[in-house]
């Protein structure tokens, strides 16, 4: 349990620290957009690229923001509870959060499978099959803009981010458990 917490937190910390600088990538794209618009022909790709960067920024940065404790809670009662009581409540309610993340992840995986040309109802086995070579790529989904980027990369990023978020929340679950047992984390 300690090992899991250490590894997951370390991975998400690194990922988050890298994504943190995404703000400058976003800024650069938007500045290029205004420059190209003012002096040349407006770029086709800037707005959509900025949207992709933003998605990566907040989805992949999500687990780190959980570590930072940035996610607000309503502390009408919660604020006055003892650490142990907080941990007890969290232990239960974080399971609900984990459930939400599982549903999100399932949707993301099936949408990613779709973007790779799979239209069936077993997205996980399809993606597994892709890795082992049992399945083939189908029609690749493209964005319906003039730039027409393929959509699987950003969807894959979302899958990865939601998976990391899931791992992080399981780590939080373990931490609550340890807190209740009175162990150091």
């Amino acid at each position: 349990m300690h090992g899991y917490i250490r590894i997951v937190d370390a991975v998400n910390l690194r990922v988050g620290r890298v994504m943190m600088y995404g703000i400058f990538a976003l800024m650069a794209i938007l500045l290029w957009s205004s420059i190209s618009k003012a002096f040349f022909v407006p770029s086709l790709w800037t707005l959509e690229m900025a949207q992709f960067v933003m998605v990566a920024y907040y989805i992949l940065g999500g687990p780190y923001s959980v570590q930072l404790g940035s996610n607000v809670r309503m502390d009408l009662f919660y604020g006055d509870w003892s650490p142990k009581k907080k941990a007890w409540f969290d232990l239960f309610t974080i399971c609900l959060l984990i459930f939400y993340l599982c549903v999100l992840l399932y949707g993301a995986v099936s949408s990613t499978a779709y973007s790779l040309g799979y239209w069936g109802s077993e997205p996980f086995s399809y993606l597994g099959g892709l890795v082992t070579g049992a399945e083939e790529l189908g029609r690749l989904e493209r964005s319906s803009t003039a730039w027409r980027p393929y959509l699987w990369p950003i969807k894959a990023v979302i899958v990865l981010g939601m998976f990391l978020m899931l791992l992080q929340c399981i780590s939080e679950f373990f931490k609550d458990y340890l807190r209740i047992k009175g162990e150091a984390i």
């Binding site: 707005l47 949207q51 930072l68 309503m74 949707g107």
Partner: protein, 442 residues
């Protein structure tokens, strides 16, 4: 089970989940996907959560969110507002309550440089608060001044809250921002009147600065005035190209963020630590907003799918048979009530989609309503038990200020905000005159 009942059940179980203190996005998201699965099973129950992510990706004005948050952190972390504070200190110190009045002025200028109230709170409580307390100002009054003053950040453009409102109400951000200018200044004016009157009645609340502190050379005094140029320059580099249509909204926000960053570098304040804090906090706050909106969009889609909007509309107009103004006033009251214990993002994304179409259908101007909405949010920021400014004040205030002081401090200011709300309701021109003037001359 009728759809109305399901809608009520969803809403109340979400409130219950929120009360357990779990992260807001988790509470909302869980109810959303469970409701979707129960209602639609495998025929769509699994997709609602994720398709919100794709919807969110396409909401381009949200690109401004990290930019304005970054701007705010750069301003507060780099302390480039210190000079501004000194300017007000020296120029206003001679009046009764002058420093408090100066703090309001400071908050207005900071509001024009960032889109949230966080920067104002940070600057107010780290720079202004200790000085005010040292000079013998009444602690309850000054805590209120800082909380109320910093909340102007979301009313005076640029404003993140108005960007989010614009997304939901489908109204132009530019006009909404302009609509916020006069009400923002009016509210600042009302705060000042309040301070002047109270200090005039009871000078102990805001003593005049000792003469030796004010006795500095005129040249030095004039030099300090230059500090006021910085916010004007940052505001102008962002707003002028935008209002003239040279750059789009999201591009302007990037220019504003860059301008704040460059200003901090030029003033030599962009240390490694400031840089680290600004970048990290921007990620944290942006993620918080985005994950809440992600969950709330799914919640909204399910709610919408139930026809809850139509149900509420018919309750108001047909069953209760209320006049448009009565409905509007009821809505504002319920908003204020919800604002006391709901997070403003959750409030906006869940409740506004129910109310805004109704406001439009009743024939009210949605630009004007955006301002009413924002003032209500300002009130929500300050009212216990849940409010950002309240939290920040609790976290940043020195030990001699108790929670009781903080709660007591906001009462008069909340009353002033309600007064401002009423004034804007009675005289819509306060909000609509400026956008009408600017956009109709084209």
């Amino acid at each position: 089970m009728s759809y109305e009942l399901i809608a009520i059940l969803m809403f109340s179980s979400m409130m219950l989940m929120l009360l357990t203190g779990q992260r807001v996005f988790g509470a909302i998201g869980f109810i959303a996907v469970v409701a979707a699965l129960l209602l639609w099973g495998d025929r769509g129950g699994f997709d609602i959560g994720f398709s919100a992510a794709m919807k969110l990706m396409k909401w381009y004005p949200l690109l401004t969110l990290p930019m304005f948050i970054f701007m705010g952190y750069v301003l507060s972390e780099s302390k480039i507002a210190d000079d501004l504070y000194r300017m007000f200190h020296v120029w206003m110190g001679g009046l009764r309550g002058g420093l408090a009045i100066g703090t309001i002025g400071l908050m207005v200028l900071i509001s024009a440089m960032n889109g949230l109230s966080v920067a104002g709170m940070a600057i107010g409580s780290t720079i202004a608060l200790p000085e005010l307390l040292k000079r013998g100002y009444d602690k309850r009054m000054v805590t209120g001044v800082i909380q109320a003053g910093s909340s102007l950040g979301i009313l005076v453009p640029p404003s993140v809250v108005l960007v989010l409102y614009a997304m939901i109400a489908r109204q132009p951000v530019g006009q909404l921002w302009l609509a916020g200018v006069l009400p923002g200044l009016m509210m600042a004016g009302l705060f000042i009147v309040y301070i002047v009157v109270r200090c005039w009645i009871n000078p102990v609340l805001g003593p005049v600065l000792p003469a030796e502190e004010r006795n500095i050379p005129r040249a030095e005094k004039l030099r300090l005035l230059r500090a006021g140029l910085l916010p004007i320059v940052i505001f102008a580099t962002m707003m002028v190209p935008f209002v003239n249509g040279w750059t789009s909204l999201v591009e302007s926000s990037a220019i504003g963020a860059l301008a704040a960053f460059v200003a901090a570098v030029l003033k030599g304040r962009m240390t490694r630590e400031v840089f680290e804090n600004s970048v990290r906090n921007t990620l944290g706050i942006t993620c918080m907003f985005m994950w809440i909106i992600l969950a709330a969009l799914a919640f909204g889609a399910v709610f919408d799918g139930l026809g809850a909007v139509k149900a509420i509309e018919s309750v108001f107009t047909e069953r209760l048979n209320l006049s448009p103004w009565m409905i509007l006033i009821l809505m504002q009251l319920s908003f204020i009530l919800m604002g006391t214990f709901l997070d403003d993002t959750a409030m906006l994304v869940i409740v506004a989609p129910l109310y805004v179409p109704l406001v439009g259908a009743l024939g009210f101007d949605l630009i004007w309503y955006g301002i009413l909405y924002t003032i209500t949010t300002q009130i929500a920021y300050m009212t216990p038990p849940f409010g950002y400014n309240l939290f920040l004040m609790r976290a940043m205030a020195p030990p001699e200020i108790s929670i009781r002081d903080i709660y007591a401090s906001i009462t008069p200011f909340v009353m002033i905000m309600v007064l401002a709300l009423v004034l804007v309701m009675i005289f819509p021109g306060i909000a609509t005159w400026l956008p009408d003037y600017v956009y109709n001359k084209q």
